[in-house]
């Protein structure tokens, strides 16, 4: 049966549905129960015009197929989506809304979503946004889908803005303690250097420079540090294949304001996004870690091996949760799409 028909039937019967892609991000967030419906039956690039700077593909298309097509034309997704497996799909990438190391300087997944086709919880096939960069007709429902974990609609097709691969990229490494590393990143970010990533781990700050050859060369000559052309570190960081992530302890993600100084966190840290995303391996309880994050102006997610899987995401304040429920109701009045996948109330 076609996806839309199945969702319509489920809406009529009140059958809960669990949306599945290739399952590479199944570990993240609460479980949800329901009859499985897969996005994998609908795959393929629908439209790709490099000089128009967008690509449109079916939700089930693998990220690797899309990235290969882009690379052939010298383009890329500049939000560097973490795939967490070779089979990751475009739909899952957008539904989870994750972004890689370039995020603070180049933008997040949601920043590049131009349009989408989706099926809401009533089985209605809807199209929002489009394939052009500027489009303010109607509410921005396509970006709303980004990070909604399928709780508002099943994405069937997505259009994403693409950008040229930078002419040159390389990495500077410098030995600095955590405090000095964060101060250095803050200082450099205030100036127009071509920074595209900055991470600190075990006494080493790594800064990636990307852009026009002349700009990168100028930065290298001015900033100092050991220069490397290898990009493996950033891939391992994005895909969490770096040895830091090989642990059975809970992996927490703290999203904090930029320029937040060093905080003593209960566990082992790896700082990404110039310190705005801090990975923490810890046995501490969730309440303690969330309190530390919110006192610093951010929030915390139990990313892997959470102490309590149902509470992986930071709870919402009551008026915010009430609004979320009304929005859920607006898209999925029967509450059949991925119920509980983001919060148990949604």
């Amino acid at each position: 049966m076609e996806l839309q028909e199945r969702i319509r039937a489920a809406f009529e019967k009140g059958t809960r549905l669990r949306i599945t892609g290739s399952g590479t991000k199944k570990f993240l967030g609460p479980h949800c129960e329901g009859e499985a419906i897969s996005t994998l039956e609908s795959t393929g690039i629908v439209s790709y015009q490099p000089e128009e700077l967008f690509i449109t593909a079916k939700a089930g298309t693998s990220l690797s197929e899309i990235e290969a097509a882009l690379a052939e034309k010298g383009q890329q997704f500049s939000f560097e989506p973490p795939a967490f497996g070779e089979t990751a799909t475009l739909g899952g990438t957008i539904a989870c809304g994750l972004s890689g190391p370039a995020r603070p300087w180049k933008g997040a997944a949601r920043d590049f979503v131009l349009g989408s086709r989706l099926i809401n919880g009533k089985g209605e096939l809807l199209r929002f946004g489009g394939e052009v960069i500027k489009n303010v007709a109607g509410y921005d429902v396509s970006r709303l889908m980004c990070g909604a974990f399928g709780t508002l609609g099943v994405l069937t097709e997505v259009s994403i803005k693409v950008v040229p691969v930078p002419q040159k990229s390389l990495t500077l490494s410098m030995e600095l303690d955590r405090t000095d590393a964060l101060a250095r990143v803050t200082e450099l970010s205030r100036q127009p250097w071509p920074i595209s990533a900055a991470a600190w781990y075990q006494g080493v700050l790594r800064i990636r420079l990307s852009g026009a050859e002349a700009a990168v060369d100028h930065a290298v000559a001015s900033l100092g540090g050991e220069v490397s052309e290898a990009s493996g570190f950033w891939t391992r960081l994005r895909e969490q294949t770096h040895p830091f992530f090989k642990s059975t302890r809970s992996l927490w993600r703290l999203s904090l304001p930029q320029a937040t100084p060093a905080i003593d966190l209960p566990g082992e840290e790896l700082l990404d996004w110039g310190g705005a995303q801090r990975w923490l391996l810890s046995d501490e309880d969730g309440t303690t870690i969330r309190t530390i994050a919110s006192e610093a102006g951010g929030h915390a997610t139990a990313f892997r091996n959470p102490p309590d899987r149902e509470d992986a995401f930071m709870p919402l304040a009551p008026p915010m949760l009430a609004l979320h429920r009304r929005i859920k109701q607006a898209f999925d009045p029967g509450g059949i799409l991925n119920p509980g996948r983001l919060y148990r109330e949604l």
Binding site: D111, K134, D140, R326
Partner: protein, 483 residues
Amino acid sequence: MKRAILEELREILPPEGLIDQTEALRPYECDGLTALRTLPLAVTLPDTEEQVKRILQCCKRHGAPVVARGAGTGLSGGAQPHEDGIILSLAKFNRIRRLDPDSRTAVVEPGVRNIAISEAARPHGLYYAPDPSSQIACTIGGNVAENSGGLHCLKYGLTVHNIQKLRVMTIDGDLLTIGSDALDAPGYDLLALMTGSEGLLGIILEITVKLLPVPPLARVIMAAFDSVETAGEAVGRIIANGIIPGGLEMMDNLSIRAAEDFAHAGYPTDAAAILLCELDGTAEEVEQDIARVTTILEGCGVTSIKLSTSEQERLSLWAGRKSAFPAVGRISPDYYCMDGTIPRHRLPDVLRRMGEMSHEYGLRVANVFHAGDGNLHPLILYDANKGNELEKAEEFGGKILELCVDVGGTITGEHGVGTEKINQMCVQFQALELSQFHAVKEAFDPHGLLNPGKAVPTLHRCAELGAMHVHNGELPFPELERF
């Protein structure tokens, strides 16, 4: 009812914070879309959040519509008053509350002017990137409500890409924090939903904007062409070669002549089209990019090239472009500004069709074009004092927007739908999609009091129009009863 509302408002606001005399209401009867004028019941000018809350609660009790207003520079009638409602002016919320160069953010009130943020940030070597042409007057609150763009969107994004957090008051008077001081927030991306929602979902009371380091150098190349097609071709080639210019604008001959007359920017008045291509970055980078762009331009039939050699010359080249609207205003008693976006490669097609329609309607069109991102601003020239020229201009404008949708684009790139393009929403969206928009609105504002009648048409309105736009014999809104 009117008297009861006014009496309550008088208790909430000091005398200078409430306007209800007809003559004093006149300046508020329209925004930048001056063809549509309505007098509101009253204009409120609160200067505390507590006053805003009480105004909203008063309007809710009386079922009176609330239209938020910044500087009133919007071009789509988004701030057009409702005759039974009040204007909630955010003009007094005009303070920059905090500017933190380390986190590259500024916390500002909605009535702060766009350019004032960049001015405040400049001593720190930072600026706020979106720069609508009205930036000296338009307010940041209005920019968020419309998701405003500007001349540098292709490289630096729209408002939605350059804000981080909002403080929003709902129609019930509840305060919500949307977004975060961090780079993301838990839950749904309501920041994206609020941006561009045209005052239909909530009242924005505070905005945290992102600031960027000012590029060390920017230079503009002005390239002239003997046809708009070759100019369009050049735009495609620049981008296909992996160059994303800071700004990439096109003007046609009529706009060039009008702008040159007005601003004396040094534009070649005999060119069919000019491109303004701004390259920014380090001195070495800019030099390298200029060489690459020049080679590309020479390969696609450019007739002359001029390069800015000083900051003054760069600003002067842009001044011509930024003054294109008022300049056109001098060569025609009235003009009607459109705002469609098209896939860039369809430009020659669209220009040809517009030329044909211009002939059919007997109205001239001047084109300015954010060429890099496909956002087209045709200015239809007319004279409201001449017969039915206004109606013809509006009909012609509507046809242009439908043409944009036809070629895979959209009816509005940055000006918003407002009142102006509400009918074309029926062309761009199907009934089910419009119903989904209404459901979103209800989630925020169940009684429909915030800016009612704007941005999203009712299905009945579309059904009535539908009779006029039957494509391939299919009725666009078959599930509705006909009138």
